[in-house]
Structures are given as C-alpha cells and as structure tokens.
C-alpha cells in the first residue's frame, strides 16, 4: 500500500480531458531549467503533473490535474506558471469530492 504510485490513485478519478488545450502552462521553460534549483512543483503537485527530466527541464502534463492551485502558489520566487481553470465542463469531475 505504501508504495502505490500517484498514477494508480488518479486512475480512480473521473476526468474529461480537454485534449490539446492544457489549462496550465509553464511560461518560460528556461527559467525552470536555469534559474530554479529547487523545482518544488515536481515534488509538491499532489497529482504528480510535473516531472523532472535528466537535463534539468520540467515537463508538465495536466491530464491528471486536481485543479488545486498548488503549483502556481509555490512558484512564488519565479511566478512562472500560467494557471487558468479548464474550460467549462472539462477537467476533474469529482464523484464524491
């Protein structure tokens, strides 16, 4: 149980993915690679949407996003996250909430 991957958890959730229209984006990927040593988004996003690549780049895939706002707020040193809610009806659909 304690080794469950976050992907396995997200698999239980219902989503309506807005294909090709991510609601969150990294404003300038260079800032993540060259100016941000902590890259806390990769640790603190509860859905694991941000991953660190070997070359220092951060890759963001918003499909599993829980729309909490964590990534935008913790990026307070660089303000490098462009964050909007998904279009109406898209994104996470909580069955229980």
């Amino acid at each position: 149980m304690s080794t469950a991957k976050v992907e396995e958890k997200l698999f239980q959730n219902r989503y309506k993915v807005d294909t090709g229209r991510p609601h969150i984006s990294i404003k300038d990927p260079e800032i993540c690679t060259n100016q941000c040593s902590s890259q806390q988004c990769a640790v603190c996003c509860p859905a694991g949407c941000y991953t660190q690549e070997g070359n220092g780049r951060i890759v963001l895939i918003t499909d599993g996003c829980l729309e909490c706002g964590t990534c935008r707020i913790i990026c307070d040193d660089h303000r490098n996250v462009a964050w909007e809610y998904p279009r109406g009806g898209y994104g996470i659909l909580f069955k229980f909430g």
Binding site: K9, C44, C68, G69, I73, W83, G88, K95, G97
Partner: protein, 432 residues
Amino acid sequence: MAEKFDVIVVGAGPSGNAAAYTLAKSGLKVLQLERGEYPGSKNVQGAILYSDALERIIPDFRDDAPLERHIIEQRMWMMDDESYMGAHYRSNTFNKPPYNRYTIIRAQFDKWFSQKVQEAGALLICETTVSDLIMDDDRVIGVQTDRMGGSVFADLVILADGVNSVLARKAGFRPELNPGDVALAVKEIHFMPQETIESRFNLSGDAGVVIEMVGKITKGMMGTGFLYTNKESLTIGVGCMLSDFKKQAVSPHQLLEDLKGHPSVKPLLEGGEMKEYAAHLIPEGGYKAIPQIYGNGWLVVGDSGMFVNSVHREGSNLAMTTGRIAAETVIGLAQEGLPFTARNLAAYRTALDNSFVMKDLKKYKNLPGIFHSNPQFFTTYPDLMSQAAQTMLTVNGIDKKSKEREIRRSFTHKRSLFGLMGDAFKMWRAFE
C-alpha cells in the same frame, strides 16, 4: 446572452449557493454560473457540515439533504511513528436530534443545495467558466464566460469562486495567495460495508466518529490528519501549510500513503475500496489574510475571501454565513433602491464584523503566525507526550518517581524550561 440580471453569482459551492438561494427567494433576478458538469463536481471538503449555518438558510434541511452520519464522538490523536495518545469525547447528548453536525459527501450535498437554489428561482448554468470580470471604469458590470457570445451583465457580481480566487486576482482586487496562507490537503475515500464501519468504530444507526490527528504524521510540517466516518465509506486525509510542503520538499501523495500505513490507522481502513483521490487548498491565513471583500459592483464570499477558521476546522459554515450575509446586504440595498457602490456595500463588511465570522477569526488572528514560527507544537510536543505515556505505562521495575523525573528531564532537555514557559504563554495569549 444579452440579458441583464440583478445579480450574477460565480460558483455553486456552499457560499455561492447560500447567496444565490437567499437572493432568489427575495425575488431578485439571479444568474449562477458553475464551471463543473454539475454543482459539486469541482468541490472538495473533508467533509463536516455544521447544522447551524445551514439551518439559518434552509431550516428544514434535514428532511431531504443527503447527510451521512451525525457525529457523536470526536477523537484527537497525538501521534509518533508507532503510537498515538488520544483524547476521545463521546456523548449520548450528540445522539439526540436535532443533530449539531454531520459528515457529508460534497458532490451529493452540493447537488442537493443547488436544487434548492433553482427551486427558489435562480437560473443555474453549468459547464461555464468565468474567465474575467467586465469592468466599466472601476465598476464591475458583468462577467466574461467561455461560452459563445459569453458576456453577461448584472448590477452586482458575487465572487464565490473558491480559494484560488482567480477573478478577484485578475481584476487586481487582491494579491496572489501566499504559500504561508494556504494549506494543501489530500484525501481519499474508501468504501466498505456499513456493518464494518459500525463495528470498527463502535457505532449504530447513523451515528459517526471523527478523528483529528497531529504529530509525526505531518513530518514536522504544520498540519493535521483526519479520518471521518460516512455511511458506507471512510474519508482519510492530511493537510499541511503549503509553505511547509515547499520548504521541506514533501510529496503530498506520499504523506497520505504514510498516514494510511500508520499502525493505528491501517487496521481501520483494512479491506476498503479506494474510489477517489482528491486535493484541495484551504485558506488558513486567518483574519490578517482577509483581502478586500467588496467594491463597486462586487462582493467576495466563502473561501475566495479566506473565510476559514483553521483552529476549529470550520469553513463551509463560514462560507454559507458569508454568502447569506452578503445576500441580505444586497436585498436591503435593493429594497431601499440604493445602488451597489463600494460605499453602500461596505455594510456587508460591517455585518460580518458583527457576526461570529469575523469575531472568531479576529480572536485567533495571531495563531497562524505563532504556529509558523514555533513548529514545536506539531513536532516536539506530540513526540514528548507519546514518550511520557510510554515511560509511565511500561512496567519494568523502575519506580514511578524516577520515571516522572525522566519525563521532566526529557521535556526540559528537548525544549528548556524557558521554552516550555514561553510556549505555554504563547498558547494562552493566542487562545485568550
């Protein structure tokens, strides 16, 4: 949608529903916009419903609201890796109607509340995200939505758009949230047979238990864990300050996994089927973090206005109360034929100041700061308490007086006498 409304309410959570319901019932023309497929589909809460706030809006809510269990027992656990030290309070007086609080499942509850709003006469449109406020000089005159031809106009816009407060932020009414002013909570819901829950928690009928947990489970961060009993499911979750998550680089998902694996928690979840994983921010900055909540043509209610009493784990009741008071302020102005200017809407703030909402938040205004700069309340003390209990309860031939000395020494060693006295004073001042 060139139609004009008296009021547009953005969001169909507890604060938006309370506002829209109260406004529509008074006969005002209300449009409510919700970005989810249905009200509740974007909303997350523990969740405990406190009856009083809802009773003041819908007195007979118990007749048909989807309620899970009324709470008859509250457990507080201080935990280290192996143990918990608990204070449990259970009373049969909590088992007599009308019940004071219930566990609820928000997706179901919000749908029910929204039905009441629509019956009261408000127009609800779902699957519609409001992207911006439409301004005329410094006055809000409507909202821009992501629907075709998506401008809608109203004399007043009530922002019930939740903790991220996107609209007020974009309009420049408030700054970005500070990581030290919000907690991130993650939770899961585990389904199991009703009888299993009742035997595990010593319950019968619709009675329920809540457990609040502090200590090592938050890995030195300021926060709490919780476990709530629903009818046929348990909710398990943990929340800590976002600034702490950032500083300590803890994965929220792993934090929850570790809590679920705690030897005191694991048996309670045994055999359950996990059906949803959710995350949500809670505005816990308290009184000092409350932004501007009114202006020309706009009001802020609920989480968007930081109305959460983190000390008492109250949020949705403050949301409903601020929604109701906002609506009552607006109705009062409309009846006198007064415009919704900042000057007139200031009555909302005054009414809140005179209500339990601001009085309670003001009472604890220094507490978030004290906990931030004194993490020992969440780390050292739970640890010491657990050790003390273990020392006293282990029978090993050492006399009790020596054991007491050992416990005293462990406290002054970890925290010094001045530290202990200082902490006691700080807590006394904060709760005074």
